[in-house]
Every structure is written in C-alpha cells, then in structure tokens.
Symmetry: C2
Subunit: 208 residues, 2 copies
DNA sequence: CAGATTCTTGATCATTTGGAAAAATTATTA
DNA sequence: TAATAATTTTTCCAAATGATCAAGAATCTG
C-alpha cells in the first residue's frame, strides 16, 4: 500500500519510527541537517535507505518531526516558574533544571543550537508564537517579583537569555569546556562544578 | 605554473585571496562547512569555481585558513585582563569587549560556534594548547583577586565560560533573541539593552 | 615589445546523495 | 490456508557537488 503518511499504526511502524528518530537525533545533532545523509541515519537505525524512506517521505520530514517535538520538551521547564514560591529559589531551580537538561539531553540541545544557528528555518513561526508568548508570560512574573523588591532589578528577558546561554553552553560547547578544564576538572566533575558555580552566581546576582 | 600553495605573492593573489576568504566567511557562517558549496563561495566572491580552486586547493583549505586565523582574533580580548586594574571593572570591560565582538563580528562567532558544535575537528589541538593555557593564565589572575577579597568567590573557569556563553549568545542565537524580544525591543536597541543587562548582572555577581 | 609567467575559463569527470519504482518477501486476517 | 496488506530489498536514476585539466587571456619583466 501507500507510504506511511501521518501517525504510526501498526506495531512495526511504531517501533521503526522510534528507531529512526533516535538514530536521526544522533546523526543530525552531530552533523547538522545538511551534513547528515539519509544513508547515515539508515545505517544508525539498522536499516536500508529505501526502507527508511518507507517510513518518512524524505530527509526533511525526519528532521521536521524531530525539531517540532523537541521544542515542546525543551520549553517544559520554563512553564514551572511558580509566582507564589520564593523568587530566588524559583529561578535557581529553573537554572538547575535547565542545566540538567543540557547534561541529560545534549543531543537535543545541539540539534536546537544547529537549527537556530542556521537561522531557524524550520521553527521561526514557533519562536515568534509559542516561545515568545511563553517567555513574555514568565518575564511578567519576574517583573512583578522585581516590583515587589523580592529580587534585584534586572531585565527579565535578558535574564532568561543568560540562563539559556550559560546552561546550554555546557552541552553545545562541551568540547571546548573539556579542553579548557583539562583532563582533571574536565571529567565527570565538570557538571557538578558547573551547577555549583551557576547556583552561587545567580543567587548573588538576584538577591535584592 | 603550479597552484598557489602557501602565501599570496602577487598583487592579484593578495586581492583574490582576501575576496575568497571574505565570501567564505559569509557562506560558511551561514550554512556550516558541509552545508556550503564551493560554487556558493565562488559566486559570493564574484569568480568561477575553477578560478577559486586556483587559489585554494580545496574546500577544506579555505575553511582551515579561516578557522585558524579566527582563533587568534577571537582570543585577543581575553589577553587584556590587567591584574593591577580594578577587578570588577576589568571583568565587566572584558564582558563589554566580548559583547561588542558578537555585535561586530557575528559571522566569526557563528563560524566558531559551528566548529565547536561539530566537535572542533579542526582546532582541537589549539583548544587543548593555546586556549587552555590562556584561560588558565587569566583564571590565575582572577583567583588572586578572589584571594585578596577583591571580588566574590566564584570559580574562575566557569566565570569565564559564563561570559563567553552570555555574550556569544547574542550573535549565535540572534534569531531567537529577536523573535522573543519582538519587533520593538528586538530591533537595534537589543544590543544596548544586552550591554546594560550584562553590566549590571556581572557587577552584582562579582562585587565582594 | 617579446617571452615568460600568472591568471581565467570552458569542458569534463567521478562521486555522493536524495529519492523513486517495482519486485520480492513477510505478516495479517478472513 | 488463500488472499490481502504491510514491509523490505534490489535496482536504478538524476541532480548536486568537489575537483581536474588543457587551452586561452591577461599581466609582468627584462
């Protein structure tokens, strides 16, 4: 019959779909969209190229699927700023969650970084829509905390950017971080050290 | 005669070399290494592909040249931490210089980001050597400032990472920054706002 | 200005890569 | 189990791309 167009239906489809996306995440996050070939992805997923193309109609289709799922997962932790909680704690624990995501999902972080670096051709609309709205909402909460004198007066949007930048740095620029820290401190310790640094850093910057 | 191997000699070589590298910076920074074609670069440099290949023996050669020159320029501002100066001022003005580089040389920033994202295949050695040594040297200065109680106790290496991350973010993630800030604040103002934010942010985090 | 050198171009190749078609195989179900 | 549907493989193609080369055009030098 015709090629699989939308959602997986059979047992095999579900499984293969998953294997392909998993493999594609590996390949795309390492080589970028244009640097990745269907063959590579197929090989990583343990199947032939035409077989892969039976499940996804082309390379873009795989990438698109990956990217749009990503954005949801990626933004999840920002949803959880609780206005009623202690502001400094709320923000530092957001920093911690975001850093943990960089540690646990470095491939996703790199996939995202690649996409943005190339000018976000596939998610511009989501950035202008969903993302902006979400950030504006959280920025409003931060602004109120500032008005109430609960944290230092710092531009909320740029504060959020700084959190994204500092945390994602540990995933996206991992090679550089390791190189600079050297064999000792660049090992497994680096994440714990980063967490400790960021905690101290944001507490100092935020407390009124 | 044989192809140009090392340094430009004639007037024409000097000029064409420059044009090619300039064009390549445009193209590579926008599309990454594998996403860029020799044809694109040649077109951007206003010459034919074979003509371009008369000056550089292949695509990698252009990229390599660009990347290795880049690292020197890129690290320059870090050299200028003056131990005798006022610590907070020294660091915030380093932040400012780095941010200005992101504004004035976004292509270089993206080229670098691309390279690191792909695992730094062409500059791993420089990261382990030059870069690490430079950072260690500056970290030592910061450490002494901390020991002398002149600035807050914060891990120097991670502090430097945070500066790189927050400043480069404005070049590498520019599309995202613009999208989130929206048409108003995402315009020309965004750099000045970023500068003001980072200044306030680092002063607060650093002062003892 | 003539010869030597440097530069440019048009034609051409070989490879890689995204993708399609159809045949062959395997699973599902009536 | 026979018929049908789903999956996989084999084979192939066309476009894109990195790279070469020989010949012609321009430039430089004595």
């Amino acid at each position: 019959m015709a090629r699989v167009e939308t959602k997986p239906k059979t047992r095999i489809q579900t499984e293969k779909h998953g294997r392909i996306l998993e493999a594609a995440l590996d390949v795309f996050s390492e080589n970028g969209f244009r640097g990745s070939t269907i063959d590579q992805i197929a090989a990583a997923a343990g199947m032939s190229k035409p077989n892969l193309l039976y499940y996804f109609k082309n390379k873009q289709d795989i990438h698109q699927t990956l990217i749009s799922r990503l954005l949801d997962v990626w933004l999840a932790p920002l949803e959880e700023l609780n206005e009623a909680g202690d502001p400094v704690t709320e923000i530092t624990s957001y920093v911690r969650r975001k850093l943990e995501m960089s540690q646990n999902y470095p491939r996703e972080s790199r996939l995202f970084a690649n996409e943005i670096l190339q000018g976000a051709p596939h998610i511009q609309a989501k950035l202008d829509g969903e993302l902006k709205e979400l950030v504006d909402r959280e920025a409003a909460i931060i602004k109120r905390w500032i008005s109430d004198g609960k944290i230092a007066k710092l531009d909320p949007h740029h504060l959020i950017f700084s959190i994204w930048a500092t945390t994602q740095h540990y995933a996206d620029f991992d090679v550089q971080v390791r190189a600079v820290l050297g064999p000792g401190r660049g090992g497994d310790r680096r994440h714990a050290d980063a967490a400790a640094f960021l905690e101290a850093f944001y507490v100092r910057a935020l407390k009124p």
